[in-house]
Every structure is written in C-alpha cells, then in structure tokens.
C-alpha cells in the first residue's frame, strides 16, 4: 500500500463513480430500442414525467442498489472465505428469497405490491437462520461453505416443489419469470422497501474490511492481529443476508455479478479484501446498470430478463476463471 497505489485506488473509485453516474442517467433516459425519452417522442409532458419518475427512476435506483449490494457482498465473501469462487448466493439468502417469493405467488398472497418482496425477505432470513443452525457458532470456512450448499439445495428443492405443484400453468410461468431476475415494472415502493435493509447490510459488510485483510493470513494470525474471526463472519454473513436478501426479494435472482466484479478489479487495485469492497460496490452498480440498459436495446420480442443477461455474460467468465485457477495451480 504505497502512496502510488493509494492514488490509483482513488482514481479507480472516481472513475467508477463517474461511470455509475453516467449509466444511472442513461438508465433513466434510454428506453426500449434505445430511444431517448424526452426528445424522441412527442409525449404529453405529464406522461413523460410519469415515465421518468415512476418507471425509470425506481428502475435505475434498484439497479444501482442491487449492483452495489451484489458486488460488495461478493468481494466480502471472497475475502471472508478466502476463496475466489465465493459469491453472494453462497449464504443462501438469494435462494431463500426466491423460495419466499415463490410461496407468495403460489398461495396467491397478493396483499399489495410489496407481498412478493416481503415474502422474499422472510425467505432470505429463514435461509440465514438455517445456515446459522447448520454451521453453528464456529467459523470454519469449509463448514460454512458446505452449510451454504445445503441451504441452497434445500431452498431450491422447495422452490421446485412449488413449481411442480403449481395450481395453474400461469402461476408456474409467473414464478419462473420472476426468478429470472429483472428491474422492470418495479415501483418506488420497492425501492423504499429494499433501500434501508440494503444500506444497513452494506454498512455492516463495509465495517469488516480490516478484519478481512487480517483473515487473509488465517484465523490464528487474524486473532493475533487483534481481530475476532467470529465477529467478522457474523458481520459479513448477516450483512450479505440483509443486503442481498432485500435486493433479490425485489429483483429476483441476478447471478454472477457478485462473483465476477471482484475479479475484474483485482488486477487494477490488488488483492486486499478491504480495498476491494468499495470499488466492488461501485463496479457492481455499473455492471448491473449497464446490463439493464442492454436488455432494453432489442426493439422486438419480449424484453430480456436481467438475470439471463448477467448469467450469459458471467458464466463464460466463470469458466475462464476456473481454467486460469487450474493452470496456475498445476
């Protein structure tokens, strides 16, 4: 951490923040087929205002928030588990949120616009509780990973069961489409629901930075440097559960952003988990906003789902990562 690398870090953050600002503005003004809203059509100013404030703004805000949460939590989990293949879904909050949302769909519990997000968030918290019960109070990395796999498998199985027993093909279709992940057709109430939870979760994760640096030398050395591995684990897991649970409850599953973003940044700003946190949040927001603009570009056919696009781009990258890791390990 020389002064030169601090300057680079500041430049990267400033550049990413600028990119996020530009993409946020684009997300508000660019519509289907890439048309510019205020200029291209001769709309009633009232209609334009409704589109901008009630459709595009919440969509852009959700993109910003979901991308930041996924990027930040991905970087923190990779640091906590000392594993470059960790991603936010690992703690089970995403699959728990999906299950919670599916239960709401399945039983037709449409008590207002927020029924699905509330159900999703309850599911995410249930998944975290199950993770805690399985992994126990210990901080063993392998136990945590295996417990996360078990929680994900169980939540996935229950989601499949709900699909299997869906009362009508329409219900099943609705569930599947929701799970594909999207920022479309969300309103300001979704933003207001998710924002406090996401911000609280991200704040919790951000405070773990120095402990994550210490943990890169193993638990004993982290303790000898004055950090509690258990406290760091609780902060990261609970923070990820809150933040990712909240955004996934609103957006549906959006894969690979949390996995890929920290890897994009390591060549530029190094491997310190603490230094990756803020840039990963910014880059996550930039990537998700960009992907959400991309899904609107095709003029015809159904709008692409955001989760589909991030997975289409993320999966080959993941493969590349595994191959690279294997080559360097061999």
């Amino acid at each position: 951490m020389t002064p030169a690398s601090n300057t680079r870090m500041a430049l990267v953050c400033a550049g990413l923040a600028a990119a996020v600002a530009v993409l946020f503005a684009l997300s508000i003004f660019v519509g289907r087929g890439g048309e510019w809203l205020p200029a291209s059509r001769d709309l009633d100013p009232g209609v334009t205002e409704i589109i901008l404030y009630q459709v595009r703004l919440p969509r852009a805000l959700l993109g910003l928030m979901a991308g930041a949460a996924l990027g930040l939590c991905g970087a923190a989990l990779q640091g906590l588990l000392r594993n470059p293949l960790a991603e936010p879904g690992l703690v089970g909050a995403s699959s728990g949120a999906a299950l919670g949302a599916v239960v709401v769909f399945y039983f037709g519990l449409f008590g207002g616009a927020l029924a699905v997000p509330v159900g999703g968030f309850i599911g995410a918290m249930a998944a975290l509780a199950l993770l805690y019960a399985l992994a126990g109070r210990g901080v063993d990395v392998m136990t945590l990973i295996l417990a996360g796999v078990a929680v994900n498998a169980f939540a996935g199985a229950l989601t499949s069961l709900a699909l299997n027993l869906a009362p009508s093909p329409w219900a099943a279709l609705e569930i599947v489409f929701w799970m594909l992940g999207s920022l479309a057709d969300r309103g300001m109430s979704h933003v207001i629901f998710a924002a406090p939870l996401a911000v609280a979760g991200m704040a919790l994760v951000l405070t773990s930075g120095r402990a994550l640096d210490a943990l890169s030398l193993g638990q004993d050395t982290a303790r000898s440097l004055g950090f509690s591995p258990r406290a760091a684990t609780v902060k990261v897991i609970l923070g990820t559960g809150l933040a990712v649970g909240a955004v996934v409850s609103v957006t549906g599953m959006i894969g690979f952003v949390g996995l890929v973003v920290p890897h994009l940044l390591r060549p530029v700003i190094g491997h310190h988990p603490s230094r990756l946190l803020l840039p990963s949040a910014l880059a996550g927001a930039a990537v998700l906003l960009a992907a959400d603009i991309l899904v609107r570009v095709p003029m015809r056919g159904p709008e692409l789902k955001l989760g589909v696009v991030t997975a289409l781009i993320g999966a080959p990258f993941f493969l590349h990562l595994i191959l690279k890791t294997r080559r360097s390990g061999a």
Binding site: S216, L225, F227, H271, P273
Partner: protein, 259 residues
Amino acid sequence: MTSIRATDVTVSFGDLPAVSGVSFAAGPGALVGLIGPNGAGKTSLIRALADLVPFGGAVELDGRPVRRIGRRAFARTVAYLAQSQPVHWPFSVRDLAALGRLPHRAAFQGLSGADQAAIDEALALAAMTGFASRPVDTLSGGERARALLARALAVKAPVLLVDEPIAALDPYHQIEIMEVLRAYAEAGALVIAVLHDLTLAERFCHRLLLLREGRLLADGPPAEVLVDENVRAAYRVAVIHHVHDGQRVTVPWERVGDP
C-alpha cells in the same frame, strides 16, 4: 520492554493434556528457544502465550493477566508468527508486511508515516527490502519465510512469538532467520521461538525451555539444558559435543532406547 510470566499453564484438548503446569518468566532482550520432541506441547504452549487457545493457569504481561488486556492492545504488544503460515492472496511482500500494522490502525485509516517507517524497518531487518514489490507466491521457501517474518516484525511488538520459523529451510536461510530473531531480541524485545534444530538453538538462543510430555524438563542457558541426560530423556537421542571458537556445539547423534 515487556516481560512475560507464565504460572502453572495448562492446555488440554478434551481429556488429553498437551501442556501441564508450565511456569517460567522471561524479560526483554532475550531470545528464548522452546524445544522438545514432537508432541511435547511446544505449539500449544506458545499458542497459550499468544492467547489463541483456552488455557488454565495464568499468563501475565508486565504483571497484567493477558485476558484483562484489550484485544487491540494485546495485538500491539505480542506478535505471533504461526507455523506454516498461510497467505491466501498473492500480496506483494510490502503489502504482506503492512498487514503487521493492522493493530496500530483505526478503521478506514490508511498507513501513517510511522506505519511506513515500521514496514521499511521490518523489511530491512528481514533482508527483504529488494523484494518489496514481489508477489508472495513467486518467492522461494527462504524468501517466503523472511517475508512472513517481516510481517511479524512490522508489528514492532515488544514480545515476538514464533512457531518453527526455520522448519523446511536450508542451512543458509536457517542461520539467516536465527540471526534476525537474535538481532530483534538484542534490540530490546523478548523473542520466544519454537525450534527443532538443537544445534542452532544452542548457538543462537540465550536461554532454552525444554518440554517433554507437556512439562518443563529443563530451563536455563543452552549449555545447561542441552546436557546428554536431558536430551536423552526428552528426545531419546544421544548428543555429541564439540567446541568451536570457544563455543560449545551440540549435535544429535544416535537414537537410544527408551529411558
């Protein structure tokens, strides 16, 4: 300048006692070798001194029980270098050493001038200045051991606990590390090192603690501890002694039957 006092320290794993009733006191300016055969409890004892395992009895720093010392203050006072220390990310050597400054930094605070000076000093002491920008995963075994030691030295703690710092190193690098530990001790620190090499322990340490089956079998200057009777009792090995440049050299020579 910090002294350590262990009183009746006991470490157990379930019903298995690893360390039973060990007492000693040591002060600044000394390199103390913690020796004994495999399974004698050396690592358990040094981990108890570092407050990393639950233990019975008492460990005090300058008369204060370690459990009454805050986590951060303790981390600034006692540095610990684990046996076969993992480094999970390919940091540069300088960034690795900088992790030793974590106990001195507040949250979201960068490295101060004092931190940078301590890192420079630690790298110089461990002869790693020229390697500062090299990623840790490209280092040889000897360079890596020095880089890890630089991380522990960068804490600038008055007490340094090191677990087998010279295992798996060639003689050149073993001697080099022992010289660094001795120099750090003679600059005013207390260094306690778990060692297996009796010859180097005798050559570099001011004092040796010999453990056998979790108990302190002998404690004193190397010439008094490494007598044939003690080494036979602890290691089931006979030693030969030689004098070189006026200093006694002890070499483990052959196995002997159970005492």
